[in-house]
Symmetry: C2
Subunit: 156 residues, 2 copies
DNA sequence: TTAAATACTTAGTAAATCAGTCAGGAATAG
DNA sequence: CTATTCCTGACTGATTTACTAAGTATTTAA
């Protein structure tokens, strides 16, 4: 578990997709422009997100990315784990066997805390943020500002 | 809010101090040896922890660091905030005024999530980890292994 | 009073990571 | 066919990490 601006970019982008799920696939170019993230950087991130089974790419005109699972089944922890390398646990290298087979003190202290945190972030799924009162108003505003989905019907 | 190995080091070191609170000040040399963190790196981290009022340094022989507040009043969020620079929120630079005075969509999505996370980590205080069943056994084991506090009485 | 132990400070550094560019290839709709 | 999109890989400057080195300041104990 690790949390950096990289994770922030990924979570933001995933939320953008989730918010437009009903309109159809969302292009990285749109996300790049609206959320202010470099296109090439997004491509790197989505390469990881796709390999981890969180999104599904659709090529060709009218394509883009869509969620590979319902928003209710994608947690923030999933996204961060997919994008950020897990930080290593020094001494034992994640094996947890410094102390003759069992976890040593250092390991256990951090391990316990990380588990708590991971459990917390696993409980936060994308859909929890989609239907908040103020959000949908902002989405509409932003879409208009950037002229997104102007000739797009509600997708199949 | 940001979470990296740097934060891990700080939290681990703080827990080491908290675990020996009754024995007296803990030296960075001891922490360095037992938790496997470079001494000079610890000095940098504790410089920040001290400036943020989380620990109190005691100079001279028999000195070390002790908590500046009760363990129940020091949260993991406090430690991480003290040590890790807060990550910036790109476009607006934390001001939250992209959108004509109010927070834009990008900002709001991340802001809401960060608040949830921060609230969670603020609720986790050091003392919650001190009295877990397995921990005290491990502390004793480690102290013996490194010969810590062999001629030290319970401090005033 | 001296010596040792500790906190504290600053400067420097190799390696890693971040965030991005660039250049192209592959699939698909019209 | 052509434009649009995903997709991949190589490369890069800037920053951060984690650490080393070298000192100074303060306190205790002999
Ligand atoms: S650091 Fe993992 S068991 Fe010791
Ligand atoms: S990024 Fe902060 S308000 Fe837009």
């Amino acid at each position: 578990m690790k949390l950096s601006t990289k994770g922030r970019y990924a979570v933001t982008a995933m939320m953008d997709i989730a918010l437009h799920e009903k309109v159809g696939p969302v292009t990285l170019a749109d996300i790049s422009q609206c959320q202010g993230i470099s296109l090439s950087y997004l491509e790197q991130l989505f390469s990881k997100l796709r390999r981890n089974g969180l999104v599904q790419g659709v090529r060709g005109p009218g394509g883009g990315y869509r969620l590979a699972k319902p928003a209710s089944e994608i947690s923030v922890a999933d996204i961060i784990d997919a994008v950020d390398e897990k930080m290593d646990l020094t001494k034992c290298g994640g094996k947890g066997n410094c102390d003759g087979g069992s976890k040593c003190l250092t390991h256990k202290l951090w391990y316990d805390l990380t588990c708590d945190l991971h459990r917390f972030l696993s409980g936060i799924t994308l859909d929890q943020y989609l239907n908040r009162p103020h959000i949908n108003e902002l989405v509409k505003k932003q879409d208009e500002q950037y002229g997104r989905f102007i000739n797009r019907r509600t997708a199949a």
